[in-house]
């Protein structure tokens, strides 16, 4: 179905090629997962499949890319629209119309299909993707999962043979992600569609993949093969695979089910060991407190009476569905919202009444799009500006940034940084003023595993230095790694508040993979298991 022969891509102003010598054959009906670090060329590979690279992006393509017998050299993306359906990273920015039904029909209109065929296919697509209920709704009013399904449906309606998706679940909460993945799984199995997708959150996808294509970046050859084989020594791997590596299982498990079947022995070994005690900070050293916090947007209740206390040295994870009130709580804590009733105090002050220049010394927040905090033309100037904003000695921010992301040239434009570097630059700017309370909104949205590990270290270090950290996130694995306490909000109310292990182990939606494999024992991460296995000779295999 897809054939890449000695394919290579060099962009116009780059010295080095992004990809070289890629040989890849994907037979019909496979679900192919493309993995690799940020900036390794995953997106380039995906976009070359429908000719966006090089027809749209510019640059030079070497070798050949042939999809369903059509060579992208002779076919522009629009000429491949009936063969390859491409769904980009942000579904919202790819929508051409504004109503669900029209969006589904748009591609077919461009292809010039007759009206009665379009009418029938729109109905079929609505049913296939479970969108019939929202067919007349404006696209911007849909939830993230629904938007993603509309984006998939809009390319599916033209009946392509190949579906290419770039990060389809990264921005979604675990349940919405499952919704999308189940849909993809069904398309592969029922319709025999060939699906190629890139995803950072391997733990969500790897079990569905028939083949993994590893794009290591830096001119190393692209590896393609059976998931268990490729993941044996890939630099990125989901926790369940890491657990398999730690326990020395062969073949490596890809799903919680596989691992659970293999884990009987490991559970026995670990029965006597205790998971490491997570730091339980002094709960009396309270930095921030919200009492009976109520926030409403017009007639929409966002928070209905929430009580939260955050103490120094804590890393607290705030979890819950999209739209449950996580961001609202963060905004209230940072004073961007005036509570309708109840009180918010940070460091004994009311954040919404503070001037911005005073506020930054008490509470800092990195928003969902870290780039919103940045505006200077170079990293160096951004840091200087942050020093002036925070009224701290010159060079403070830069020193922090060097600590968080070493080796970034000062004259680089913030736009050209990787997602992880941009996050740390924004974080450095916020930390310059040494706020005791630090809030992060969805920090791992676009981070790969390497950048995530770095973030985990940074957060632990901040907690050790006495900051209180509150992070709103969908990333259960991040929570398992770093959080000392978990808050779960649903429908504007706090439904759970307790130590990480207690809250997440029993929850089907929020449990990390290792906890699912080793339940009822409260292990959360592969590292914990590895440490227990090496530390305690009695349990060593």
């Amino acid at each position: 179905m897809i054939e890449l022969r000695r394919m290579g891509v060099t962009f116009a102003d780059a010295d080095e090629p992004v990809l070289t010598g890629v040989d890849l054959v994907v037979p019909e009906g496979e679900l192919v997962l493309v993995v690799g670090r940020t900036g390794s060329g995953k997106t380039t590979l995906l976009r070359s499949l429908n000719g966006l690279v090089p027809h749209f992006s510019g640059g030079t393509l070497h070798g050949s890319v042939v999809v369903d017998g059509r060579d992208t050299r002779e076919h522009r993306p629009r000429d491949l629209a009936d063969v390859v359906g491409y769904v980009g990273q942000d579904p919202l920015s790819g929508f051409v119309t504004d109503i669900v039904e029209d969006e589904l029909a748009y591609g077919m209109e461009s292809l010039g299909l007759p009206a009665d065929v379009m009418r029938r296919r729109v109905e079929e697509t609505l049913d296939l993707l479970g969108l019939a209920e929202v067919r007349h709704r404006p696209l911007v009013d849909l939830s993230g999962g629904q938007q993603q399904r509309v984006a998939i449906g809009s390319v599916l309606a033209t009946h392509p043979r190949v579906l290419v998706l770039d990060e389809p679940t990264s921005a979604l909460d675990p349940l919405a992600a499952e919704e999308v993945l189940a849909t993809l799984q069904r398309l592969v199995h029922d319709l025999g569609l060939t699906v190629v997708l890139a995803e950072h959150r391997l733990e969500r996808v790897v079990q569905y993949a028939d083949r993994i294509v590893l794009v290591p970046g830096g001119n190393a050859p692209v590896v393609s093969g059976d998931p268990a084989t490729v993941l044996r020594d890939a630099p990125v791997a989901p926790p369940v695979v890491e657990l398999g590596r730690v326990a020395g299982w062969d073949p490596l498990p890809l799903s919680v089910r596989d691992a659970r079947r293999l884990a009987g022995g490991l559970r026995e070994q670990l029965a006597d060991a205790e998971p490491p005690e997570r730091r339980r900070p002094d709960a009396t050293d309270v930095v921030a407190e919200a009492r009976g916090l109520v926030v409403t947007y017009g007639r929409v209740p966002a928070l209905g009476g929430v009580d939260v206390r955050l103490a120094r040295g804590e890393v607290v994870a705030l979890m819950g569905r999209n739209g449950a009130g996580k961001s609202t709580l963060l905004k209230a804590l940072v004073g961007m919202l005036e509570p309708s009733s109840g009180s918010v105090q940070v460091d004994g002050l009311v954040p919404s009444r503070l001037r911005p220049s005073v506020l930054v010394r008490h509470v800092g927040m990195v928003p969902q799009v870290p780039g919103d905090l940045l505006y200077a033309a170079s990293v160096g100037r951004e840091c200087e500006q942050a020093d002036r904003d925070a009224q701290v000695p010159s060079g403070t921010t830069l020193a922090l940034f060097r600590l968080l992301s070493p080796g970034v040239p000062l004259e680089q434009h913030p736009r050209d940084l990787s997602e992880g570097q941009r996050l740390t630059l924004a974080l450095a700017g916020v930390l310059a003023a040494e706020p005791p309370l630090l809030l992060l909104d969805e920090p791992t949205r676009e981070l790969d595993y390497t950048a995530k590990h770095r973030l985990v270290e940074i957060l632990r270090d901040l907690a050790d230095r006495g900051h209180a950290v509150l992070l709103a996130t969908h990333d259960v694995e991040l929570v398992a790694e770093v959080a000392t306490r978990v808050l779960v909000v649903a429908d504007g109310e706090l439904v759970a508040d307790g130590p990480t292990a207690e809250v997440v182990v029993s929850s089907p939606a929020f449990a990390p993979q290792v906890a699912k494999v080793l339940a009822p024992q409260p292990w959360l991460t592969p590292t914990e298991v590895a440490v227990a296995l090496t530390d305690d000779p009695a349990v060593r295999p």
Binding site: D82, D98, E101, D102, A115, S154, D389
Partner: protein, 374 residues
């Protein structure tokens, strides 16, 4: 009778009808600086928007346009105060310190500010503001993107470009608000000109990214995949459409300006329209696009569009009959109420009733059955 012809059958009205209505009212507003008809147009658009607006995001843009028009009026008055040209009336309100300007430039910075000059500026600003509000009403009632679907095939590409530009503006406002609140987190008071400069960078970057994404998405979904045609019809289409549109432009200018030569008005408009229609017809055959569920153009559409046309025609005719009540001889006089124009503009309020109501989401079948049974 088709269901679409009924005034009560809930459905979304053809956006073209709303735009025709709004442009009709805007045309009426463009021919007068008398505050009475202008205020009447404002009230009429506000009334119809309140009655027939949905809860879709674009429907919320009306308020933004209202605010923008207030800014327009304020700016117009400010400029009048700062850069008044000589004495403009007997009633001096206050005197600003003035700066000498080179003789013969005709400009004066500061100096006396008269009531007449202020009123004149207010009326002129109000005219522009009213036209803006009409556009805002059209945007709120008929989604601009939906209108794109009805652009003739030959103009499709241009239509897409226009509509994307139109929908970009509200997105920029949302982005600016988000970035602004984020900048607060860096300890900055985002006010004044420097604040704007700091906002511009991330907002424009975001906008650029989004437009590139959109272009890529459209390309990979088959946008512009036209069937091949020979060179001659393509050239012919270009010449006809361009020539026709030029004719329409000159015609509209002639019609609206009033002081232009006679041949520039209606004859030019008709000639241009015919040429353009011919070009669109020839060009329309070359695109292989089809349309999914085209909006019907039925009785309510005729009525809504017609009410706008009536308002425009009534004012245009009345301006010929009674020019004095549309362009005040002296600013100080109490503005008269032109009868024909007023009636015409009032007809423009009819869509509040004759446009079909918007559909609400259907109830689940079980509940619907029990409700019908009850």
């Amino acid at each position: 009778m088709r269901p679409a012809d009924r005034l009560t059958f809930p459905r979304v009205l053809h956006p073209g009808a709303w735009w025709a209505w709004a442009l009709g009212l805007a045309t009426a507003a463009s021919r007068t600086q008398n505050p009475v008809p202008l205020a009447l147009v404002l009230v009429v658009t506000g009334f119809v928007v309140a009655a027939r607006r949905g809860d879709a995001p674009w429907a919320r843009s009306y308020v933004a346009f209202l605010k923008l028009s207030l800014v327009v009026v304020a700016v117009r008055i400010l400029f009048q105060v700062l850069l008044s040209k000589g004495a403009q009336g007997p009633t001096v309100l206050f005197t600003l310190p003035s700066l000498p300007m080179p003789a013969g430039s005709g400009l004066k910075l500061g100096g006396e500010v008269t009531l007449e000059a202020l009123l004149q500026a207010f009326y002129e600003g109000l005219q522009l503001a009213t036209i803006l509000v009409c556009v805002g009403a059209a945007n709120a009632l008929g989604s601009a993107r939906r209108l794109l679907r009805h652009v003739p095939g030959a103009l499709y590409e241009i239509g897409v470009a226009c509509v994307i530009a139109l929908t970009f503006a509200p997105q920029l406002v949302t982005d600016a608000a988000r970035v602004r609140s984020a900048q607060r987190l860096r300890g900055r008071d985002v006010t004044g000109l420097r604040g704007v400069a700091r906002l511009a960078m991330p907002v424009l970057e975001g906008a650029l990214d989004r437009s590139i994404d959109l272009a890529a998405a459209m390309d990979s979904r088959g946008y512009g995949r036209t069937t091949d045609v020979a060179r001659v019809p393509r050239r012919l289409t270009g010449v006809l459409v361009l020539g026709g549109l030029l004719g329409v432009c000159v015609g509209v200018y002639g019609l609206l300006d009033g002081t232009a030569a006679r041949w520039m008005g209606l004859p030019m408009l008709v000639l241009g329209a015919v040429l353009a229609a011919l070009g669109l017809h020839v060009g329309g055959r070359r695109t292989g696009r089809t349309r999914y569920r085209p909006d019907p153009w039925a009785l309510p559409e005729w009525l809504v569009a017609g009410s706008g046309v009536v308002a425009a025609v009534a004012v245009l005719v009345d301006v010929h009959l009674e020019p004095a009540s549309y362009f005040l001889a002296s600013v100080g006089q109490v503005p008269p109420v032109p009868l024909l124009g007023t009636l015409g503009i009032l007809v423009g309020a009819l869509p509040a009733v004759v446009a079909p109501p918007l559909p609400t989401p259907a109830l689940p079948a079980v509940r619907r059955d029990t409700e019908v049974a009850a």
